[in-house]
Symmetry: C2
Subunit: 158 residues, 2 copies
DNA sequence: ATAAATTTAGACTTTATTGTCTAAATCAAT
DNA sequence: ATTGATTTAGACAATAAAGTCTAAATTTAT
């Protein structure tokens, strides 16, 4: 697991970024996504269904089916994916695990955390997956480099 | 679970802050800590043992035993507790779950995250539990307010 | 010495997360 | 209509995290 998110959520974010990076060639097969990102196929399937219900992606069943973004890539932020999968709670809790995070009964790191939280909110809300994938030249080439040294035998399909 | 840490780690941080807030009346019984902070007794026991091995706290067995800080409260930072319990990895991973976080193959949020990470490091490294508990007037009175509305029947022993 | 209080140890249970498997439903192409 | 490719559904397994329980070891006080 990463810093903030569940595995499911990480996979969801990765998958949506992958879709954004390959537009407009849609829809894209689940198999392609799971191969490229090294995500267990059926596990990702569940996650994509969650994102489908939330409108982040659209699915097409049957032959030549697959997934595409549910709306313009400029209109999807990371936070939308997080909300769909991990829910609302993740930035509302106390860092130290006390039962509430609240200005009226602040824990010792509350004020410091509040500032960091704003930065993180910007990171997750203000930039769209369109912008994020564009920054990478729309190719997600970096994925190849990330996985290639781990598993050189298995073909990487980015 | 909170934003970053495992439950164990949260409990550990809370317990150490509690010890710091009650100095110099030491040692303090595990039972006192677990009652005050609503932490399962034997679960906290394991966590305190981990902190003991790491030198963050010192334990005294037998009657009139208990726990005290392993060194001056000014010399203990949150990050020391995190390292002892959750390990080193937690700020090194990629936020989006890609296999490495690295300037040479950055994920789309890497540069934004890097800035936030610095703030968080400051929060966890630069302020000691001495300073943190002092800010609260050394009493952790806030704990009482946090828990009182949840469980009004059970006695709170802060 | 004995008893009482406390930490330590470790087996065990419960719950949540992650991952796997098989089958059904749906759709496009022939 | 039939076939094949794909998503959907849901049962199941494996693993990890969180919590519970009982007993042993250690220390202080009597
Ligand atoms: S109360 Fe702890 S972070 Fe706000
Ligand atoms: S590579 Fe993703 S946060 Fe650094």
């Amino acid at each position: 697991m990463s810093v903030f998110f569940s595995r499911s959520c990480e996979y969801g974010i990765q998958a949506v970024l992958y879709l954004a990076s390959r537009e407009p060639e849609s829809p894209i097969h689940l198999r392609d996504i799971s191969n490229a990102l090294r995500i267990p196929h059926h596990f990702l399937s569940k996650i994509m269904q969650t994102l489908e219900r939330d409108g982040v992606v659209i699915s097409h069943k049957g032959a030549n089916g697959g997934f595409e973004l549910g709306r313009d890539a400029k209109e999807i932020s990371i936070i939308n994916i997080v909300r769909a999968i991990d829910g609302e709670a993740f930035l509302n809790g106390c860092v130290l695990g006390f039962p509430s995070c609240d200005d009226t009964a602040p824990c010792p790191v509350h004020t410091l955390w509040k500032k960091s939280k704003e930065n993180i909110s910007v990171m997750l809300e203000k930039s769209s997956v369109g912008e994020l994938s564009a920054e990478l030249g729309g190719k997600l080439e970096f994925i190849k480099s990330l996985y290639s040294h781990n598993n050189p035998t298995k073909e990487i399909n980015v």
